[in-house]
Symmetry: C2
Subunit: 299 residues, 2 copies
């Protein structure tokens, strides 16, 4: 049984940034999150891809001891085309082909159901709820979401938020969902729904963790080379959840550490397209940058 | 002799934010910076105001032991009208009446010339250079600037930057001045010009300190109540410089502390219009929030 289950999308992306252009590269929330988590644990992925999904990508995952037994293969793989301008904080979506993603059943394999750590990447909140309903023994469930679901399925999304321990959401989306400009108020509203933790992601500006009575400010890391921010949010979440699953320690101080490890993986992820930087990332580099994060905030 | 000289503008502002509207309230870079500095030291202000400048504002400053002997009084006071939308990070300037500001001589009073700590608020870089030329014994000169001077007097601005120890600049302006999206590269370019320190201000997202070989990330403080961000950048600079002048210690660790004290004053400043919050701010509140800044970043 994997220590961590990751549910989300698998895609083939066409990405253009001011620093280059790549076509048909590996992407999707489940991919970034599980690869990032694989630096700490051996996650299991629940997702769907097409029959056209390249063998080499499957191998890339299984070589990292990522369990792909929960991936369905049907029809054509989900495709996304996006572009970043010089402000790399937000992608402009040029095209989305859902393809087989519309048939995603979100069924947990039998041997995943008893898993303690669960990350629900950005997918339809109906499917997030369905996954939560199948978990027989959850210890810590985290979920992510996006503006599309806030606009189109707000009530279902709220139902899902009520059932998780940690909500991940970016700053603009938190403001949209809770109808306030004040992130502190947005976090308070989110906590009222049930989660013990809320993490507001601020892209290059880092992330904020809120609980009922504490607040943690994780810095962004200034990069010499920034090529493609695609998947940074998912890499952050995956790295964080991977560290939590590995350490099996839900104290707030350990959650803070996990957030920094997530930030470390996300910062590397932006240094190259798709998973290129993560593919050549070493544990030594991770530990070194973790120490850098300590240094840049000491006073 | 004051421990810190602050050069900048004095104004009367009309400000509208989503949380209210005030007319003809006290403002200007020299005002915010010197008031913030007065929590740590007794600064001297070099500026110009009109003969219409209200007596009560003069009293407000002198009651804080701010030396106003370097303020000229001529014609009408500089006026600024601005509005903030829900994204409070940037003001939209609706009207500017320079009035007597165009006659500002930027002459240091004789007993200021030997001063060791000097803050040059956002004014014409020609005047900033003129002030630097009058300082006979400077130990630490910091300067701020803005997009207007980057567009209109870039070469003079560069000359001024070459002569200071610390450049303060906001993120958008750093990108504009050094023609790069990458803040790390912008900071490197700024350091090459001569300053030992560069601080990039990111509004609600905090501030970054760069030296040749180190980097410090100061967090923003999430506010329950945010009414008016006018003067936060100047309050940050003034608080920081006030703390440095008081402690007379230019080690990097003390500069980091000074940045946090500056962030503390700036965070309070945003809680109300004009100087209202700073007027009722106590040293206990400052120390308490300083400790909060430690707590929100511990991991």
């Amino acid at each position: 049984m994997p220590e961590l289950i990751i549910v989300g999308s698998i895609g083939l992306d066409d990405v253009k940034t001011p620093f280059g252009e790549k076509t048909s590269v590996l992407g999707g929330s489940a991919i970034y999150a599980s690869f990032a988590a694989s630096f700490f644990t051996n996650p299991g992925v629940v997702s769907i891809a097409g029959k056209d999904f390249p063998e080499e990508h499957k191998k890339l995952l299984t070589n990292r001891n990522i369990d792909i037994g929960g991936i369905e293969f049907k029809g054509k793989t989900f495709r996304w085309e996006g572009r970043y301008e010089y402000d790399m904080n937000e992608a402009k979506t040029l095209k989305t082909e859902l393809n087989s993603l519309t048939e995603f059943s979100a069924n947990l394999p039998e041997h995943y159901k008893d898993d303690k750590f669960l990350f629900l990447g950005n997918i339809d909140p109906i499917l997030q709820l369905k996954v939560i309903g199948q978990a027989t023994n959850p210890k810590f469930i985290a979920m992510d979401t996006m503006n599309f679901w806030i606009s189109s399925k707000k009530e279902t999304l709220i139902e899902a938020i009520k059932k998780v321990d940690l909500l991940l959401i970016n700053d603009g989306e938190a403001r949209q969902l809770f109808n306030t400009v004040n992130l502190l108020k947005a976090a308070e509203e989110a906590l009222k729904l049930g989660p013990k933790y809320v993490i507001i992601k601020k892209g290059e500006h880092g992330a904020l963790l809120f609980t009922d009575d504490t607040h943690f400010n994780a810095p962004g890391y200034p990069l010499e080379v920034l090529k493609d921010p695609t998947g940074c949010g998912d890499s952050f979440a995956g790295g964080m959840m991977g560290y939590l699953a590995k350490t099996n320690n839900l104290s707030e101080s350990n959650i803070r550490k996990a957030i920094i490890y997530g930030s470390v993986i996300a910062s590397f992820n932006a240094e190259d397209f798709s998973l290129e930087r993560q593919k050549r990332l070493t544990n030594d580099e991770i530990e070194q940058r973790y120490k850098e994060f300590e240094k840049i905030r000491k006073f």
